[in-house]
Amino acid sequence: MTDFRAIMGVFFGLLGLLLVGAGALAPEMRAPLAQTNVNLWSGVMMLGFGGVLLWFSRQRA
């Protein structure tokens, strides 16, 4: 089986890409009380997390 960390890494990576894309393409899309580009920053965080998981899975392999 493929390393489970790699599977999760790909999932969060894709999720992060979607969010960063949405945040970059539609920065004016804001919820009523939000003061920042929530999609962009959350997306960056998920991309980072996905990257860390992928890096971990490569370390062992």
């Binding site: 999932f11 999720l15 979607l18 969010l19 949405a22 919820a31 009523p32 929530v38 920053w41 997390f49």
Partner: protein
């Protein structure tokens, strides 16, 4: 709230991955043991996160956020006085018996330690309870998606149940555990930004303190008497009822969580599983309770946000979802919804995988057909998975029709569970405890719970036989029911055990303190020793209690 294609895409991405996990694991389940208990080969970090996630259903997210809005940081008692000490205890002191006894389930441990009837009682009540919880989880999901998105109740229930069926049927416990880990990260990453933005918007912790009642920002300072705080509970009821009886009763004896630790690859890993799980558990209040508290502060600070009304008061259960709409644009909104959906489904899958194990090993193999070849039990386990999910769906629809039945069932399960920890504590640490003692202790503890409920009144609940005492809240009533049930079970078990014949010492090897060689981790580095980890985690928990005193 309206969703866009982006949100639907995110939901679809998650479902695709979950089904994919089931698919990749399908070849790993060739025997009943692999399917039901995952062959005791799951890595430590996976079992630890699954241990937290199995209990982290969507009801917990929604309920803890609601409670945070209603009672403030006092809600964290469920974690910092309740779950954490119990998780440390089960890992350090009880896991040697669960894991070391080679029992495949908690009821099976009771059979080895006591006798058939004690196992039967526990297995049957646990099996019914898991089906019920799984059904309620589905019901809550259907209701939420109907309310928020206008989706059909039936369609949401059937869709989520089918997905859970596919991945648990294909990959068994391992599949459920891996999905729980994915769900854990998704819920934390999905909701942590909400907590962060909401608290930031209201001006940080100082801003919260300025805008809410002082009781809501302290744990213990207002617990001198029940009248001082919103929960209506004093420090003793909190510490003994919630902290000791209810939390230890759940975390130390509920097979749903204990099963995750028992799937670990070695004794040391099994013991470290709950202790390591306590670290994320300890930090969860900042993700689940803080948004609720921030929601109230936001409302009081005149930001324009208000909690929706329900009758004469606020509908606290909607705190989390209304807050999401205030802070998340489409995209993150989809992530938040996917996280809720994932935790509903995780709750279902956790219950179903515990149900099929207890049914196959403790009911079918023990009372219906003994000594069949393994392939037969694997088939039974898979069939049980299907039947269990079908029964959960039925329960969900029943809950939709008759809300009162659900309340009644929940009450009865509370009565059955309250005394459990006394039985395990005596069983594991006093070799003189007998099967007759355990069985009669459990029954009388359940009766004591019922009597306490019937003789007291709180918010119109209870008082069937008259009212000897009135509690300011049902929460206080529940804590005291637990205290009475536990004490009755404890005393009756001791009394009956002394009057009946104990098992010979050699029959109890590996099952009781003093007759079991305790695993030693001496010489191992600190992070590999359950004891030193426990001290570290315990100190962190004490520190949190002091900071928010």
């Amino acid at each position: 709230m309206t969703l866009t294609i982006l949100d639907y895409g995110i939901i679809a991405l998650y479902l695709f991955f979950v089904l994919g996990i089931g698919w990749t694991l399908r070849s790993k389940v060739a025997s009943a043991d692999q399917f039901l208990i995952s062959d005791r080969s799951t890595p430590l970090w996976v079992t630890s996160l699954a241990f937290v996630a199995a209990n982290l259903g969507a009801q917990e997210f929604i309920g803890m956020c609601a409670s945070g809005a209603k009672y403030g940081i006092m809600t964290a008692h469920f974690y910092w006085a309740g779950a954490i000490p119990a998780m440390i205890f089960v890992g350090v002191f009880m896991m040697p018996f669960y894991y070391g006894s080679k029992a495949r389930s908690v009821p099976e441990y009771l059979k080895l330690r006591f006798d058939e009837k004690t196992r039967g009682l526990n297995a049957v009540s646990f099996a019914v309870m898991t089906l019920f919880s799984s059904g309620v989880s589905m019901y809550a999901l259907g209701l939420l998606f109907q309310l928020m998105l206008g989706w059909s109740f039936t369609a949401s229930v059937i869709l989520s149940a089918t997905i859970v069926l596919v991945y648990t049927f294909l990959g068994g416990l391992k599949s459920a555990i891996f999905t729980e880990v994915l769900q854990f990260f998704l819920t934390v990453l999905g909701f942590a930004p909400l907590a962060f933005y909401a608290v930031q918007r209201v001006g940080g912790w100082e801003g919260i303190k300025k805008n809410v009642a002082p009781q809501m920002t302290h744990l213990w300072a207002y617990t001198g008497s029940p009248e001082q705080n919103g929960m209506g509970v004093e420090w003793f009821g909190l510490a003994a009822g919630l902290g000791f009886v209810l939390s230890f009763g759940y975390w130390c004896t509920d097979f749903l969580v204990v099963q995750r630790a028992m799937a670990a690859g070695s004794m040391n890993d099994a013991r470290r599983t709950p202790v390591l799980a306590a670290i994320p558990k300890m930090l969860l209040p900042f993700v689940v309770i803080l948004p609720g508290l921030a929601a109230v502060a936001l409302m009081n600070s005149g930001s324009g946000y208000t909690l929706p009304m329900k009758g004469a008061g606020y509908d606290y259960d909607q705190a989390l979802t209304t807050l999401m709409v205030q802070f998340y644009p489409n995209g993150m909104l989809g992530v938040g919804l996917t996280a809720l959906m994932a935790s509903f489904m995780g709750g279902m899958a956790g219950n179903v995988t515990a149900f099929n194990t207890v049914f196959t090993y403790d009911i079918y193999q023990s009372y219906i057909r003994k000594g069949a070849p393994d392939a037969h039990y694997l088939m039974v386990a898979k069939m049980t998975t299907v039947v269990g999910i079908a029964l959960s769906i039925a329960t969900a629809f029943l809950a939709q029709q008759y809300n009162n039945i659900m309340d009644l069932l929940q009450l009865v399960f509370g009565f059955v569970n309250a005394p459990l920890f006394a039985t395990f504590l005596l069983g594991m640490f006093w070799r003189r405890t007998t099967g007759h003692g355990a069985f009669s202790g459990l029954l009388s503890g359940t009766l004591a719970a019922w009597f306490t409920h019937s003789l007291t009144l709180a918010e119109g609940k209870g008082g069937m036989f008259g009212v000897l005492h009135s509690f300011p809240s049902t929460m206080a009533q529940n804590f005291w029911i637990a205290i009475f049930a536990w004490s009755t079970c404890f005393l009756v078990t001791i009394g009956v055990s002394l009057a009946t014949k104990a098992k010979a010492d050699r029959e109890l090897e590996g099952l009781v303190w003093g007759l079991t060689k305790m695993p030693s981790a001496e010489g191992a580095p600190w992070y590999a020793r359950p004891g030193s980890l426990a001290v570290m985690v315990g100190s962190g928990c004490v520190l949190l209690n002091l900071i928010f005193w």
